[in-house]
């Protein structure tokens, strides 16, 4: 394997800036890596045919003395939920096969403007519904740690691409854990920013009140660098916050010194007992807490009594919003059209949706349509919104006592492909610790915390901060990351099996 692909985005950027490496070289190295390993991993649904041209342009501009952004010339993988003008955007669905958007998602436009080089579009569960990428209409992505296992979902493609060194950075989206749970099972870093911190414009909507775009990377600093590029107010998204944001990269660099841990109050939720988690996950979590404590943090037990209702509330709110958001896929203006000879427009719409949507999508549309129906609205959608308010209050109460909350990022390590695909409830429960974060609109980050003893697979720890305090997560995440990497003697991913034969 080429050394270039092992570099972090920050190191890559430094070499590019120093003229030690060109963007064309960096991009070519990653394209070659994709060619070598993606047949096994299947992280990408589409690989750009003009990434080298984009890279050459960046090199030319740099040579001409143009002031470029911190990540200029660094390759980037883009989750297929984000629309792009130069590559298809399918959201993992047959109904959008080959669809080319006439406009770029705001985060894509900002990435391009910052000089990042889009490599391709990454695989995902259809319309981001799933925790394994097994619900992708284009086949599953495989976990680089064990190709027989799931890479998490819905953003398994972005996480696997980064974990398999096919890209140093990726964009993801997180509605109930779709950035953080894949990070957990692939030994990578994933950040779900505060709701409204990053524009949703051009992110194909799953559940509008929960969706949030965020960075995926191998290090906390890399996620922070990408967050600096994509974040901030967007007038095209009415729910986008107008707050000024600090430099997240600066926060990560400051955090890496470890100072932040002195006196930091870390909340641990009483209602999430270790028994709910795979032993190796619980053990890794406890070890991380001990490490934090040893470096000056105070572990405080807090109560979040409504957390346990989070998954139930989520699986009413999400399908309700999704059933409406997915109504636009009707074959009239774009996407798959299945003609019904002699049929009406309603017949064509119905047939196209029947053929174009997968089972999980249909399941959630039916669930959501039902939950919003007259006579059921109050009992289902209305009650779920009340639970959501209670969970928000749990967080408010907790953050009155602690600076951050820590949880395991998911209950288990990567399960086997096919293991839960026919058991939606088990699949849904995989997001038990990530979902409340979306319901409350607060930021959450998952960073690698080690390997589970019983299966040697990666485990992540999630930190959660109050809304608008995303920078705190980069500080705390970078601090723990520095301690752990020190303890491991190198990045966790160095322990992943080598892919791609002799490369």
């Amino acid at each position: 394997m080429s050394d270039i692909t092992r570099l972090t985005a920050a190191d890559l950027a430094a070499r590019l800036a120093a003229g030690e490496l060109s963007s064309v070289e960096a991009t070519r190295a990653h394209l070659e890596r994709i060619a070598a390993v993606d047949g096994d991993v299947h992280a990408f649904l589409h690989v750009s045919d003009h990434a080298l041209d984009v890279a050459a342009d960046i090199d030319r501009r740099r040579a001409a003395g143009e002031q470029l952004g911190a990540l200029a010339g660094v390759p980037l993988a883009i989750k297929d939920v984000l629309v792009t003008t130069d590559m298809p955007s399918t959201s993992g669905s047959k109904i959008l096969e080959g669809f080319i958007s006439p406009y770029d998602a705001t985060v894509v436009a900002r990435s391009r403007a910052a000089g990042l080089v889009p490599l391709g579009k990454t695989n995902m569960d259809e319309f981001a519904m799933g925790s394994s990428t097994e619900y992708s209409a284009y086949g599953p992505t495989h976990n680089p740690w064990d190709l027989e296992r799931i890479p998490g979902g819905s953003g398994g493609g972005s996480a696997a691409a980064v974990a398999a060194f096919e890209a140093p950075l990726a964009l993801g989206s997180d509605t109930g854990g779709s950035i953080r749970q894949p990070a957990h099972v692939t030994g990578t870093v994933g950040m779900k920013p505060t709701y409204g911190a990053v524009s949703r414009y051009g992110a194909i909507a799953l559940a509008s009140s929960l969706d949030q775009v965020g960075p995926v990377s191998r290090t906390v600093l890399d996620s922070a660098l990408l967050h600096d590029v994509i974040g901030g107010h967007d007038p095209n998204d009415a729910t986008s916050l107008e707050d000024p944001w600090p430099s997240f990269a600066a926060a990560a660099r400051e955090g890496a010194t470890g100072e932040v841990l002195k006196g930091l109050k870390v909340g641990v939720i009483r209602e999430l007992p270790d028994t709910g988690f795979q032993p190796g996950v619980a053990a890794s979590f406890r070890a991380s807490l001990a490490l934090l404590e040893a470096h000056g943090a105070e572990i405080v037990e807090i109560s979040a009594p409504h957390f346990e209702y989070g998954v139930a509330a989520y699986y009413l709110i999400l399908p309700a919003e999704a059933s409406s958001n997915l109504a636009k896929f009707d074959s009239v203006r774009f996407g798959l059209r299945v003609d019904v000879p002699g049929g009406t427009v309603e017949d064509v719409m119905a047939r196209s949706r029947e053929v174009g949507f997968g089972d999980e999508v249909k399941r959630r549309i039916i669930l959501g349509t039902y939950a919003l129906s007259a006579g059921y609205y109050d009992a289902y959608y209305g009650s779920a919104q009340k639970v959501r308010t209670l969970i928000q209050r749990d967080f408010d109460d907790a953050f009155a006592q602690v600076d951050v909350i820590a949880t395991p990022s998911a209950p288990t390590t990567a399960f086997r492909l096919g293991e839960k695909v026919d058991d939606p409830i088990q699949m849904y429960l995989n997001d038990v610790t990530t979902i409340p974060v979306n319901l409350a609109g607060v930021p959450g980050i998952s960073i690698p915390s080690g390997l589970a003893e019983e299966d040697g697979l990666p485990v992540g720890i999630q930190f959660v901060a109050p809304a608008r305090h995303d920078a705190r997560l980069y500080r705390v995440g970078a601090a723990l990351e520095a301690l752990l990497v020190d303890e491991w003697g190198g990045p966790l991913l160095d322990r992943a099996p080598r892919l791609g034969g002799n490369l």
Binding site: V83, Y103, A105, A205, D237, A238, T239, S323, D330, T369
Partner: protein
């Protein structure tokens, strides 16, 4: 279409009491659409744009697109709410109304549902004879319009029998305010007339505010008329419960609103009198036949699965904004009418005539430009209206109030006689320029040069010695023949009174 049985209108009113309700949709003429930056086809400047040229991703429901509320539309809606005497909600929300239809890009309409921006108001409506009604307003809420379907290949232009349909998304996302009344009681036999007067009142208000082009024929203003009837209670008996209502849509002129309400009262009365029941339904008005027919129910019309629009924040206008819009409200049309009538000193019938002809703005502007009120009224109500009727166009489109005032000033100054002034008006309407320019170009001014007149008079007198003799005999009325000859010689461009004076003077010499 089967022909409905109708009861005689007077008999229907004798036996039943009509109850009305209206939903009027007003297309706002904002620069851009309700939720996108696309140009708004309901703005005069964009009228008639080619299909699908005024669209942004959100109007097409493209993947990833998001709506953003148009602040100008919010201000217009608040102004309208205030002009309707409504309370303005300190916070109101948009909801999604979910249903599949090809003219609806997202397959849901963003509309205010349980939290309208304006509520609890009233509108004063004046009938043609000046009778006033207070119409209670329940709410006015913001929403977006849908696109337009054109059904091709069928004989009727309707969806039934069509081979295919074309969709134009230009109208998708045009800002709408829907004004909903409470039930209106007590209109009685004037119910049809009141319906038209109500729509006219709304039109006057939105025109006064400048927030809509308000052209019904273009769909800028659309009225759905709800009609129910109930048997009259005998003296001392409690009123019967409200009857089942029908909602007649697609009524796009004030005259049609009036006819549709009358038709529904007569149709429903015939059904009830025959022992039948009214079906609660949407009905369509057919301008050509003057009838209503049941609408095809939408497949899932019963359950729109409303829920709060998660892509938008609540609309929370500041008190300062509301109060500044309130302070900027124009005079209410009813108040303005009373003020103008008094200031002009018109008789009831003359003033109402101007109002009913829809020429109040024109007369007011003509007066403002310097004409006497009576003269302004005379021009608009007689000569200009005559030409407008003959040509089948709007009187206001023919000539500007400033031109009319300038014309009258030429008359007042003696430059033009009434007859000449009508010729000048004809020239102005024909686009020949300002009244003065027409006078100059056509050489229509009164000849006030006595020398020219005297020459013509002497010639005429010489040609008619018998007349001259009669005048000298004191038979002054004989002068008419000479005056006529002189006016003819002058091609009408002389002041007849002055000619008469001069004729008598010359005859005496």
């Amino acid at each position: 279409m089967a022909k409905d049985a109708l009861m005689d209108f007077d008999e229907a009113l004798e036996r039943y009491e009509p109850v009305l309700g209206f939903e009027v949709h007003v297309e706002l003429n904002t620069e851009t659409k309700m939720f996108s930056a696309a140009a708004n086809p309901a703005h005069e400047r964009n009228h008639g744009a080619a299909p699908n040229t005024l669209v942004a991703p959100v109007d097409m429901g493209l993947p990833g697109s998001l709506p953003v509320v148009n602040e100008q539309a919010v201000r217009y809606s608040i102004s309208l709410g205030l002009a309707l005497g409504c309370e303005i909600a300190s916070s109101s929300r948009f909801a999604r109304k979910n249903y599949f239809y090809p003219d609806l890009g997202k397959n849901y309409q963003i509309s205010q549902y349980d939290e309208p921006i304006a509520f609890e108001g009233q509108v004063e409506v004046e009938l043609e004879d000046g009778t006033r009604f207070e119409i209670p307003i329940e709410r006015a809420h913001m929403e977006e319009d849908a696109g337009k379907l054109t059904h091709m290949g069928g004989a009727t232009g309707r969806i039934q029998g069509a081979e295919y349909s074309l969709v134009d998304y230009n109208r998708a996302g045009v800002p709408l305010v829907e004004i909903v009344t409470k039930p209106i009681y007590g209109a009685e036999h004037r119910a049809p007339e009141l319906a038209a007067a109500y729509v006219r009142a709304i039109r006057d208000i939105v025109i006064g505010l400048g927030i809509s082009e308000a052209r019904m024929e273009r769909g800028n203003l659309r009225c759905d008329a709800n009609v129910s009837i109930r048997p009259r209670a005998a003296a001392g008996e409690p009123a019967a419960p409200l009857g089942t209502r029908t909602e007649t849509k697609n009524v796009n002129s004030m005259r049609s609103v009036e006819r549709a309400v009358r038709y529904e009262i007569q149709r429903q009365a015939a059904i009830l009198a025959a022992g039948g029941t009214i079906t609660q339904e949407t009905r369509h008005w057919h301008e050509d036949t003057g009838r209503t027919s049941p609408g095809r129910p939408k497949s899932d019309a019963d359950d729109y699965r409303y829920f709060p629009e998660p892509d938008l924040l609540p609309v929370a206008p500041s008190v300062e904004l509301i109060e500044s819009l309130r302070a900027a409200l124009p005079e209410p049309p009813a108040v303005r009418r009373r003020r103008l009538k008094e200031s002009w000193g018109f008789a009831d019938i003359d003033f109402q005539g101007v109002v009913n002809a829809g020429l109040l703005n024109e007369v007011e502007a003509t007066v403002a430009a310097g004409a006497a009120p009576a003269a302004a009224r005379k021009w608009w109500m007689s000569e200009i209206s005559r030409v407008a009727n003959a040509e089948g166009v709007d009187a206001a489109s023919l000539v500007s109030p400033a031109s009319v005032a300038a014309l009258q000033q030429l008359v007042d100054a003696g430059t033009l006689t009434d007859k000449l002034a009508r010729q000048v008006l004809e020239g102005v309407i024909a686009g020949e320029g300002t009244p003065q320019e027409v006078v100059d170009a056509r050489g229509l001014a009164v000849v006030s040069d006595d020398g020219a007149l005297i020459a013509a008079i002497d010639e005429a007198l010489a040609a008619q010695p018998d007349v001259l003799a009669k005048i000298r005999d004191g038979k002054v009325q004989a002068a008419g023949a000479v005056i006529g000859a002189v006016m003819k010689a002058m091609r009408g461009q002389a002041d007849a009174a002055r000619v008469r004076e001069l004729v008598l003077e010359r005859a005496a010499q």
